[in-house]
Structure formats: structure tokens, C-alpha cells
Symmetry: C2
Subunit: 362 residues, 2 copies
């Protein structure tokens, strides 16, 4: 295996793979970072002599495309994946410019720390965490299998999504929250000297992720700008409503105080409702839901075709992956309780090898 | 001692005081809440037969004024304080309408949980946490001493601030962050079913405080609307800049991409700079700073007068409180390293009993 980019994520992947007995070749545009990773036991800081099975591109989102093109020209590996937190842009470059787009599958392990660089790496970083894979219509079964094996090697839970669905989800779950943490933290510069001691755990939690590397995060946010734009516009509208309400409430004699109070309570209640989207349960299960299992043929385009079919049926398009069914991946997804039989029947009517797989609570 | 309002904070105060041997009388507009608190060992759920030393008004910010007026009419206590997270409004009501404004001093222990009600109470809730006291120009030495003794009884670190400075600070450290957490959480309602499993610790941290009771938080936010308005306007301006930059960055062919990237990096860097306002050190100390100590006469108005004098000198207006100097409180504050001698000299020139008290790092 080869890892290009020995920062926090690349080195953590390399550490996890090395620990499982995989030979890992490390490289970085900064050779001393690769040597540091090698010194930590993450692998060998040199170019492999033969083509490796899998190359992991652990570089910022905007660099994945060009690094992929370069690595494929060098025939570095049989399969290629990346670990960037944005997936549509790299997929677009792979389909348009990579010499062998079928050998690439997008990847995104949902794990990280505020620290960066090889010295912050941990082999356990991915344990139990979701690892999203985003096959393109051209992705081969081999590339898909290599990437899934990597995720499992790292102890992660492989999931399958369409690249655009992934980007829209992480805009809401990661990129916009980072922005909000930074906006909140930036205002703290106005606090007079010692008054910072009034900060409590709540403030620390809200602003913690704002400590992330600003160069890397500029790259992430710009790479997902398309998916973020709509959410940020909605936040602008919410904030404008709040500003108007606060201006009314700041004046004890103003008309419209009841409406101002309703605006505030409504926002707070919508926040509480939004928290329900964050599962308390372990990744890969959904309480109170039926499961459906689909055996997918080992042909390029089959997984994206299934994701499109599910989206067309209005079904949750995040798939868990069970053990390989011999001929190809066996994927499962959740539907609202009681809908398992009808969802499986609809998919069978469309030619899929689908069957109900019990209830998540079983 | 009497505690009016046996929610999370009131019951926690009562538990801490009872544990130190203080007799505590509990009341609540919901008698079953007071009985629950009594059942937990927080005190006696009945009206005291004689005037108590201190009444703690543990009610939402907008209710402090009317509850204070009512309790003073009933001659419930010698001194009165509250625990609300907004201080200017209650002080205004006390000065304008309370029968005995000299007997009141505002208080705000910086502690809390997302849970509410007496069953969430903990005697240890305030240990090591700042407890801000905001004396008005009329506050008597007795009221000041009773409130400080309560803070110390609860294991908290008493600090003194002007009510308006307090409100401006908590707007930045608590109320605006709560708003931002709610705004971020509210957007999560758009996440499709199973995609919530992509949520990581970062999102959980950013949105955790949004779980707070929306009724209580509406009261808090409206009570501090005046101090929040300016900060929210600045956030609107920041967010507008970000939205413009993202719109440019979403278009790969747009002019102005370098400017868009600079806008994003600048915001992220300002966020990192803002985090420096949150001290890593323990409350009550400020690393790399000189200390000055002032013995304050035990007369109403002396503490607020000192706070005004310090603000006039451009000095951090948050005061730590040392042991009582017999004739009145002995307060200390931090100034930039090397400025201790000159600050003490300026205060002495203005008639204060001030002296340098070494360096915080000593």
C-alpha cells in the first residue's frame, strides 16, 4: 500500500495498516514529514519498486484530483482512494482527467483531531467510526473492494453514499458547524482581559473545533462551497430574524414583544428538534427501523445505480456494507419501521436482488 | 437562608449550603418542586418563622425584579441576592422599585447543566467556578458579605464586576454561543434519515448546549437583548462576507477566487485568535500579569466606585476577592506585566488604599 501525504489522517491510516502487517510506502511533499511518520512505525519513507494494491491520497480536498492524475501516470497502484472530507470535486476530476477513472473510489473516514501533522496520528483514530465510500459510475469492483478492506483494516464502519449526498450531509454536520464555531470564537476578541475567566464548558465546546488549521480548513470549505452556500443563506435569514427580534426585545416599551419572544422560542425549539438528527446509538444501526439487504453485482456502476434507485424511492441513501456475498458487495439500509417488505418488493420489481433483513431492534 | 425557586441552580445552592450546616427554607411557585428539593436533602419546604440572613432568588432573569420586590415586602431576609445570568435588568428594578435596594446585590454563579429541575441538582455544581457579584451603588456591606459567604460556602470563586460589564461579557461567552449552537442545530433537520450517523464529536460539541430548556433560554436571551444586539449585528456582517466568498468559491471559473480564499482564511484565523480569550489556567489567576490589591471601605457604593475608577484607567474590571480585611473587602485585579507599580500609584493618587501584590506567576 502507498500513502501520499503523511499528515494526521495519512499517518494514522498508515499506522493502522502497518499494525495489521501491511507493507506501507510513505511519501509527502515535505520529505521530513514522511520520515517522521516512518520513525513512528507507520511504514517505509520510500517509493515502492512495484505497483502496490492501493494508493491512499491523504492530501487536502483541492489537491486530490491533481495528485490522483500524477500517481496514475506513474502507475503507482492498482486502486486509488482518498480521505478528503469533500467528494464531488475529486470525483469530477477523476472522471474528466484521470488516466484510469475505474481504479478510483472516493473515501472519507469521519475522524479527526484539532491537532495536525504526523505526530498527532493514532492507529486507533478510525475505530468504530463511519468511513464513507463514494463509488462513481465507473468505479471497478476491485477498487471498491480494496477501499472497503482498508476501512475494515482500520476498524472503521464502511458506508456507501453518492458523492453529492455526502457533500450536502457534511456541509450540515461538519463544515457549517466549523464556520459557526469560528464566527463565535472570532467575537471573543472583544472580551476585556480577565473577563475570559467567565468562559464555561459550554463556550469551550461550541468553539473547540475553531482551533483547526486555517489553511487546511480554507481548502475544505472552498472545496465544498457549492453545498455550503444554501445552508449559509438559510443561516443568514435565521440570524436576520433573530437580530430583529432582539432589537425589539432590547426596548422594554416596544410593541411586538410577544412576537419577538415567539421568534426566539421558535428558533430554540428548532435547535432542539435538530439535535434529534444526531444519533445517540452506535454508527451503522438505526433504532426502530426495518432493514433491507441487497446483493449487488460486482460491476462498475452497480452501487451508484442502487443509490440512485433508492433516492428515487425516497429512501435513506446511506448504506451499510455487510460481508462480501462472493459475487459482489452485500449492502443494507434502513427504512421506517414496517416499510421493509414493501421496499424490498419495489426493488425486486426493478430487478434488484433485495430482501427484508429484519428490524434494527431485533 | 431562604431559596426561592428550586430548579437546577436553586436546589444546587440549597444542597451545598445544607451540607455546610446552614438551615435552608425552600419555596417554589410549584410546591411539588420545593418538596422534591426537600426530599433530596436541600432543606425545609416551608416559610421561615423569622427573618433569615440571606434570600437567594433562583428564578429566571425577567422574574428577579418582581420576586425581589415581593420578598422584601414580606421582610423575608436581611440580604437578598439572585443567580440569574443577566444582571443589569434586575439591578434596575431593585434600584427603582425594591423597598430596600441596599439589601440587594446581584449574583451569577457560572455553572449549569443541560438538564433542569431539582433532580438534576448537585451540591458540587459550583466548586471552583467563578461566582460574579455585581454591587449596585446602594448595596450595603452586609449584603455584599452575605452574598460572598454564600459563594464561598458553595466552593465557588467570588468575582466582582459592574452589572453592565457582566452582561456584555456573558453575551459573548454564553448567550451568543447558545444562539449559534441553536442556529447550527436547527439546520440539522435537513439531514436525510440515516446520514446523521456521519455526525462526529465536533458537531456534538458545537450543538450540545442547544439542548437547554427553550422557555428558560428565551427568558435569558430577551433579558440580555440589549447587550446581544451589537454582537449579533457583527455576526450578520461576518456571515454576509462568508456567504459572498462561498458564492464566488462555488464557481470554479469565477474571478475573485483569491479574495474569496483570503476572506475564509481571515475568518478562520480570527476564530483561532479569539480562542486565546478562553483561559486554560484556573479561574482567579491570570498568567504573566502583575497583581494589585486594594482595601475597600465597607460603605455602599465603594466597590462600584472602584470598578468605575479602574475602567477609567483602562484596567480589567473583573476583581478577585481575597479574605475580608476586617473593615471591608480586600480585592485584587490583574494588570499587564510590569504595570503593577504604576497602577497602584495612580489609585493611591485617587485616594484608594492600593498596593502592588506581586506577579501572578510568583
Amino acid at each position: 500500500m502507498a500513502v501520499i501525504g503523511t499528515g494526521l489522517i495519512g499517518t494514522s491510516v498508515a499506522l493502522a495498516a502497518s499494525r495489521q502487517g501491511v507493507t506501507v510506502f510513505l511519501s509527502d511533499r515535505d520529505p521530513s514529514a514522511a520520515r517522521t511518520a516512518a520513525g513512528l512505525g507507520a511504514g517505509l519513507a520510500r517509493t515502492p519498486r512495484e505497483r502496490v494494491d492501493l494508493a491512499v491520497l491523504a492530501v487536502p480536498p483541492s489537491k486530490v484530483g491533481s495528485v490522483l492524475v500524477d500517481a496514475q501516470r506513474r502507475r503507482l497502484a492498482h486502486s486509488y482512494t482518498d480521505v478528503a472530507s469533500v467528494k464531488a470535486g475529486p470525483e469530477r476530476v477523476a472522471l474528466a482527467r484521470a488516466p484510469a477513472p475505474s481504479r478510483y473510489i472516493g473515501g472519507h473516514p469521519l475522524a479527526g483531531r484539532e491537532l495536525s501533522g504526523p505526530l498527532a496520528a493514532r492507529a486507533e483514530l478510525f475505530e468504530g467510526r463511519p468511513w464513507v465510500l463514494t463509488p462513481s459510475p465507473l468505479t471497478s469492483g476491485v477498487a471498491w473492494r480494496h477501499a472497503r478492506e482498508l476501512a475494515e483494516l482500520c476498524g472503521a464502519v464502511p458506508l456507501v453514499m453518492r458523492s453529492r449526498d455526502h457533500d450536502e450531509t457534511v456541509a450540515l454536520t461538519s463544515h457549517v458547524p466549523h464556520l459557526m464555531a469560528s464566527l463565535t470564537a472570532a467575537r471573543l476578541r472583544q472580551i476585556p482581559g480577565g473577563a475570559g475567566r467567565l468562559a464555561g464548558q459550554g463556550l469551550r465546546d461550541v468553539t473547540r473545533i475553531a482551533a483547526g488549521d486555517s489553511g487546511l480548513w480554507t481548502d475544505i470549505l472552498q472545496s465544498n462551497a457549492a453545498a455550503m452556500t444554501g445552508v449559509v443563506r438559510e443561516l443568514q435569514a435565521d440570524l436576520a430574524r433573530v437580530a430583529t427580534a432582539l432589537a425589539v426585545l432590547a426596548d422594554p416599551d416596544a410593541d411586538g414583544r410577544p412576537a419577538g419572544l415567539r421568534t426566539m422560542t421558535d428558533l430554540l425549539d428548532r435547535g432542539i428538534a435538530g439535535l434529534a438528527a444526531i444519533p445517540g446509538a452506535a454508527a451503522g444501526t438505526a433504532g426502530g427501523a426495518d432493514r433491507v439487504r441487497v446483493a449487488v453485482a460486482d460491476r462498475p456502476g452497480e452501487l451508484p445505480r442502487l443509490l440512485d434507485a433508492l433516492a428515487g424511492l425516497g429512501i435513506d441513501a446511506v448504506l451499510g456494507v455487510d460481508a462480501d456475498a462472493g459475487s459482489g458487495p452485500l449492502v443494507r439500509f434502513a427504512v421506517p419501521e414496517g416499510d421493509g417488505d414493501s421496499a424490498a418488493a419495489k426493488l425486486r420489481a426493478d430487478g434488484w436482488d433485495a430482501e427484508p433483513a429484519g428490524n434494527a431492534g431485533d
